[in-house]
Each structure stands twice: as structure tokens, then as C-alpha cells.
Amino acid sequence: MVPTNYYIILSAILFGIGVFAFVFKRNIITIFMSIELMLNAVNLAFVAFSQAWGKLDGQVFVLFVIVVAAAEAAVGLGIIILIARNRQTLNVERVDLMKL
């Protein structure tokens, strides 16, 4: 039986990587992937707690998160394709029409 702490630590590490990539990466696809990484880090924590406390709530939440992530992926990828077509780039720094 792996201690719950291990799962939590792994989850925190994954989330931290996600945040880091979210803030510092320039490629939209990478940013998008880092968001997915953060979501899945949270999923891992949910499942770990669910097992630790012997309750199913966490697992139910995981299913919700997966559904939302799927919807987000669909919309997000659509937006990314449009940006790529219109601006011929995937660099977020170049997506700056609203810049002052």
C-alpha cells in the first residue's frame, strides 16, 4: 500500500510543473498541455484522497473534471486552430491585438 502522502507529493509536483509551464512557455499548445497537466494533477489528488478516506466522492469529481477537460480541449483546440490560421503563429506574445 503506497502511503497517501506520496500521491499528494506527486500531485503537487505535477501541478507545480503545470503552473511553471503555464506561465513561462510561449507556445499556445504547450500552455494548453500544461493546463491539462494541472487538471490531471488535481485528479490524482482526488483519487488519492478518495482511497485514503474510503469515500467515492473524489472519484465522482474526477469524472466531472475529465468531462470538463474534454469540453475545454474541444473549444480550446478550435480557438488555437483559428489563431494559427489568422496569425500564422502559435506564439502567445504575438497574440496582442488588445495590447495598449
Binding site: V19, F24, D96, M98
Partner: protein
């Protein structure tokens, strides 16, 4: 088919002028004058015919009060104000004056205004005035009366300012409107008080309730409901009928075209105040104080305006002050309880004063726009018809028998003499009669007699067209015979006019204190005294302005103080400017405008807007448009949230409680 079709559809009398006004106002701009004439004269003429028919039916059905509710206007709780019209003896007099004299003046105006711009506009306003005036006199409750009351005020404003490009005309219009507002303020308060006391504004119901014996009479100095309500109503009447201290607008109103002065500011609208007081006679007779105030204000105004009229040089200004003075006579009559005498004078005054104004308009027309009597003179040979008709009107207003003014003025002076303590009123009234005769003959002599004082090469004096002379002749005939209904009273017979109005005013007035024979010889004596005083005025005017014109100037010089005071109308306008207009302007400018509006309200609103702009200016830099900076903000937000949850004791408990 109803048996009394015109009475059953009484609103047609009012609707016709409204239709005429609407048609001319909406479509008349591109029409020829002739078409406008057809609409304006047709609608008012038909209205006059309908009024005649309604009056005929009223007589046929035995002269009982006719009252009909056409539709409900306002209901609130158990208060109801409707479009209710009524016809009684008093209304008969008023309706015939308004439609009859109104129609004659319309005919005259087609000649007088023929070469003026805005022809259709003039007739549209004039018809609209007829509409509102008919609402006023036919209304069966105070609220509907007030609609007409305000409506005629509006038309008066529009017509005084008819030549609105002239600053003095538009100023005079505004002055009339604003001064009338002061009176209307009192009128409305009076209505509120009546409503609060009697829970109704219907004439019939209200007067019935007021006649209840439980309402005792209110003596001198007692300020009960009746006294206060009557004084407030009288305040409105003072504004509309140009009495002290609100008379100042009427002389200025002469800026309007002359037919307007004749119709609105002499014959009809300005008598509305007298009508209201007479209509409310049930209330007024309850309060001694109110009656005394009415009598004193009326008598004082009559004398005051007559003295100003003595020295005016503008032909229309003389007539304006004369109108104020004659209106004072009517109020004097009402104040001494002789309401029918007041209405009688209203009727005869409508004839001869309308005639005077129209004749003056004919003179102005003949002189090519000149209004100053100092630049006239010797016109009698050149404009004969105008001269003769104006002379008739002057004889009538001066009270020379057997013309109309003699009978009505005599009736008023007699009633003033008869009430206890009325002798000072009588004396002042008699003196005013003398002054009236003097300034009216002064007008005649200066205008029509003596040597011409105008440039005969420049001014081509010409008689007016028959469209103008016709109404003059008709009104001259009425000015002669208009008083004869009351004539038999002079030799002991019945006063048909007073008898006719008895169902309205009751028989409480003119209480006969003397025996029949004594009363009769007494009346004759007073009549002779009145005629003598009128002749005295005439003789004085003749001597001063025809025989010895240099004496008039000498007199003016020797009494310079009095003369300049009169010429400047007792400085009342200046007094009002100094005591009311200036302080009001100062408060409006410095307190309301610069402090309250600019500093407080604008300051608060602008300050708030400036503050928000400044905050926005600072914070908009966070919206850099850089996607990654937004990402950083999201992370910072999340970190702050986590920090709060963990560091603030208890902050996250409700959410995370079950985890721990």
C-alpha cells in the same frame, strides 16, 4: 332625436372653434388668406349659431339649470371630475358674449391682419382661445373651469407674443404668463381647500353643501374656510382680471395685435375673474371679509388705473388702463353683493370696450401703425365711421344716458351706496367715473379733433375696409341698446337683467331698505349725480385739450411731481423689479445656479466621474493585452486564495472542514 338637440350636444359649441384652430394650425400655412378666413369665421360663426340655438332651447325649457355629464375625466376614490357642462342664466350671458363678440372680432381681424405675416397662425390661436374660453364659461365644476382658465392664459401668452421677433412683445407675453401664474397659485390652493372641505368640486353639489345652514356666516376678521377659500379664489381672479396688485401685465399685453387686445384683454378673458367670483357667489356671501376685500380691491383698482389712464399717450395704453379700471368696477359690484350688476357691467363693457379697441385699431390702421396720440389729431373728417363708432363707445363708457355704460355703472354705484359703510366706495367710484369720462374724451379730442399733428405728406389717412367697419357698427349698435334691458328700473319698473339672473344669484342681493317711491327718487338722484360727474369730465377734457391745449401742458408743468408719477404708472413696475424680480434673479443666479447647481450638483457628478476616470487610468495598465501576464495574474490569484485559506484562521473551514 332629443327634444333639445343643441343642449344635449352642448360640446359642439366648443368643438367647432377647436376644429377651426386645428385645421388652420395644421394645414393653413400654405393656404390663401381667404381659405383661412373661411375656416376661422365658419367655425366661430357656427359656434355662435349653435350657442344661440342652445340658449333658445334653454329658454324654451323654462330656464331651468341644464347640466350634463359628457364623460368622466378623473376618478380617485369617491372624487369625480368630469367633462360636465352646464347652462344657466349666467352662462347664457357669458356664452353669448364670448361667441357673439368673439365672432365680430374675428371678422374685424380678417381686415386688420390682412397684410400681416403668420395669418393662419393668428387665426389658429384666436380660435383656440375661443375653445378654451367656452370651456371656462360652460364648465360645471372648478377643475374643468380651471382647464379653460389655463388654456385662455396660454392663448393670451401666444397672442401677446404674436410678433415674437420683437423683444418687447415676447417679454410682454412672458410677463402676462408669469404674473398669471401667481394668481393661479392662489386659485389652485382655493380649489384644494374647497375639495378638502366639501369633497367635491362640482358647482351644484358644492354650492348645495355650502348653503347648508350648519355653515354659519363668517363675520369681519374671522378667517374660516369660506374666507380663506374665497380670498384664494379671488387671488386667481386678481391675476386673470388684472386687479391690484397683479394688474401690471395687462398694459404690457397691448403689444399683441389690436383684435387680440379687444377680444382677450378687454371683452372676454380678463372678465373671467369676475365670472369666477360671480359663479362662486354662494361662497363669497358666506364671508364678510372676502366681500369687503373684493370691494376694496375693485374700487382701489378702478381709481388707481383711471389716474394712470389720465396721462398715457399711447392710444391702446389708455384703453388698457381703462379696462383695468372698469374691471375694478365689476369687482366693486361683486364685493357689495350686487353680482348681477357686476355681470351687467361685464356685458356692456364687452360691447363698448371691444368697440373702443377695434376703433383704436382702425385709427392705427388709418395712421399706418402710429399709436401715439400726440402724433394724431383732426382725424374725425377723414375716418368718419371710425370716429362716430368710437364716439358712441366713449359716450357709453363715460356713462352718458341712454347708452349701455350708463345703466350698468349706475347699477354698480347704486349698490355701493346702499350697503352699510359703502359711501366711501361710492364716492371713489363716482370720482373714477369722472376720471373715466375725462381720459376717454381726452383720447377722442387728441385723436379726432384739433389740428393734425402728423406729417400729412407722409401719412395717408384712409378709412378701413368694411370687414373692419362692419363689426364696429354692430358693436356700436350693441353699445347703445345693450343697457336698455335694465332701463325700466330707472322709472320704477323692473330691472329685467337683474330679474333674469335671480335664479342664479338668488334674491339676497340689493336688499330694499327704502320704500318703493323713496328708492325710486333716490335712484334718480344718484343717476343724475353720475351723469353730472361724467359731463364734468367731458367738459374738463374739452377745455383742456380743445379750447386751451397750452393749459394742459401748463398743468402738467405746475404739477410736475404728480404728472411724472402718473406717467411712470406710480413706478409699480420699477417697484416690482426692485423688490421681487431683482432679488429672485439674484437668488437664482447666485444660490440656485452658481451654488446649488454648478457647485453642488455639477460638482458632485463631475467629481465622481473624474475620480472614476482617474482610477480607471491607473488600473487599465493591468489589462496589458499580453496573454502571459494574464496567466501570471491567475497564478498569483490562486496563490493568494490558498494563502488566505491556510493563514487566516477559520477562513476555509466551511469548505475544507470535512477534509481535515
Amino acid at each position: 332625436m332629443p327634444t333639445r338637440p343643441m343642449l344635449e350636444y352642448l360640446w359642439i359649441v366648443q368643438l367647432l372653434p377647436l376644429l377651426g384652430s386645428a385645421i388652420n394650425g395644421l394645414f393653413g400655412a400654405k393656404w390663401a388668406n381667404k381659405t383661412v378666413n373661411w375656416v376661422a369665421l365658419g367655425s366661430t360663426g357656427l359656434s355662435f349659431a349653435c350657442a344661440l340655438e342652445a340658449v333658445r332651447e334653454f329658454f324654451e325649457s323654462g330656464q331651468v339649470l341644464f347640466r350634463k355629464e359628457f364623460f368622466t375625466w378623473i376618478t380617485a376614490g369617491n372624487f369625480r371630475a368630469g367633462f360636465d357642462l352646464q347652462m344657466d342664466q349666467l352662462t347664457v350671458v357669458m356664452v353669448l358674449v364670448v361667441t357673439g363678440v368673439g365672432w365680430l372680432i374675428h371678422i374685424y381681424a380678417t381686415g386688420y391682419m390682412a397684410h400681416e405675416g403668420g395669418y393662419y397662425r393668428f387665426f389658429s390661436y384666436l380660435n383656440l382661445f375661443m375653445f378654451f374660453m367656452l370651456i371656462l364659461v360652460l364648465a360645471a365644476n372648478y377643475l374643468l373651469l380651471f382647464v379653460g382658465w389655463e388654456g385662455v392664459g396660454l392663448c393670451s401668452y401666444l397672442l401677446i407674443g404674436f410678433y415674437f421677433l420683437r423683444k418687447s412683445a415676447s417679454d410682454a407675453g412672458k410677463k402676462a404668463f408669469i404674473v398669471n401664474r401667481i394668481g393661479d397659485f392662489g386659485f389652485m390652493l382655493g380649489m384644494f381647500l374647497l375639495f378638502r372641505t366639501f369633497r367635491t368640486l362640482d358647482f351644484t353639489a358644492l354650492f348645495q353643501a355650502a348653503s347648508n345652514p350648519s355653515w354659519g356666516p363668517e363675520g369681519w376678521g374671522q378667517f374660516g374656510t369660506f374666507t380663506v377659500a374665497c380670498l384664494l379664489l379671488f387671488m386667481g381672479a386678481c391675476g386673470k382680471s388684472a386687479q391690484l396688485p397683479l394688474y401690471v401685465w395687462l398694459p404690457d399685453a397691448m403689444e399683441g395685435p389690436t383684435p387680440v387686445s379687444a377680444l382677450i384683454h378687454a371683452a372676454t378673458m380678463v372678465t373671467a375673474g369676475v365670472y369666477v367670483v360671480a359663479r362662486s357667489h354662494v361662497l363669497f356671501t358666506h364671508s364678510e371679509t372676502a366681500l369687503v376685500v373684493v370691494a376694496i380691491v375693485g374700487c382701489a383698482t378702478a381709481f388707481f388705473a383711471a389716474t394712470i389712464g389720465l396721462v398715457q399717450t399711447d392710444i391702446k395704453k389708455v384703453l388698457a388702463y381703462s379696462t383695468v379700471s372698469q374691471l375694478g368696477y365689476m369687482f366693486l359690484a361683486c364685493g357689495v353683493g350686487a353680482f348681477s350688476a357686476g355681470i351687467f357691467h361685464l356685458l356692456t363693457h364687452a360691447f363698448f370696450k371691444a368697440l373702443l379697441f377695434l376703433a383704436a385699431g382702425s385709427v392705427i390702421h388709418a395712421m399706418g401703425g402710429e399709436q401715439d396720440m400726440r402724433h394724431m389729431g383732426g382725424l374725425s373728417k377723414k375716418i368718419k365711421y371710425t370716429y362716430v363708432t368710437m364716439l358712441i363707445a366713449t359716450l357709453a363708457i363715460a356713462g352718458i344716458p341712454p347708452l349701455a355704460g350708463f345703466f350698468s355703472k349706475d347699477a354698480i354705484l347704486l349698490s355701493a351706496f346702499q350697503i352699510p359703510g359703502g359711501h366711501p366706495l361710492y364716492a371713489l367710484g363716482l370720482l373714477t367715473a369722472l376720471l373715466t369720462s375725462f381720459y376717454m374724451f381726452r383720447l377722442i379730442f387728441l385723436t379726432f379733433h384739433g389740428k393734425p399733428r402728423y406729417d400729412e405728406h407722409k401719412v395717408h389717412v384712409h378709412e378701413s375696409p368694411w370687414s373692419m367697419l362692419g363689426p364696429l357698427v354692430a358693436l356700436a349698435v350693441l353699445s347703445v341698446i345693450g343697457g336698455w334691458v335694465a332701463a325700466p328700473a330707472l322709472w320704477g319698473g323692473p330691472d329685467y337683467f337683474a330679474n333674469f339672473l335671480t335664479p342664479v344669484f338668488g334674491s339676497h342681493e340689493g336688499a330694499e331698505v327704502l320704500s318703493e317711491a323713496a328708492a325710486h327718487s333716490f335712484e334718480l338722484t344718484l343717476a343724475v349725480v353720475a351723469v353730472v360727474s361724467a359731463l364734468l369730465g367731458l367738459a374738463n377734457a374739452y377745455w383742456l385739450y380743445l379750447k386751451r391745449p397750452e393749459k394742459a401742458e401748463g398743468l402738467a408743468k405746475s404739477m410736475k411731481g404728480v404728472y411724472t408719477t402718473l406717467l411712470n404708472k406710480y413706478y409699480v413696475d420699477e417697484l416690482y423689479v426692485a423688490t421681487i424680480v431683482k432679488p429672485l434673479l439674484w437668488i437664482s443666479t447666485n444660490v440656485l445656479w452658481k451654488t446649488a447647481d454648478v457647485a453642488a450638483i455639477d460638482g458632485a457628478v463631475n467629481g465622481l466621474a473624474d475620480g472614476i476616470t482617474a482610477v480607471g487610468d491607473r488600473t487599465r495598465h493591468t489589462q496589458s493585452g499580453n496573454t502571459r501576464s494574464y496567466a501570471v495574474w491567475v497564478v498569483i490569484g490562486a496563490l493568494v486564495l490558498i494563502a488566505v485559506i491556510f493563514l487566516w484562521p477559520g477562513a476555509g473551514k466551511p469548505v475544507l472542514g470535512w477534509v481535515r
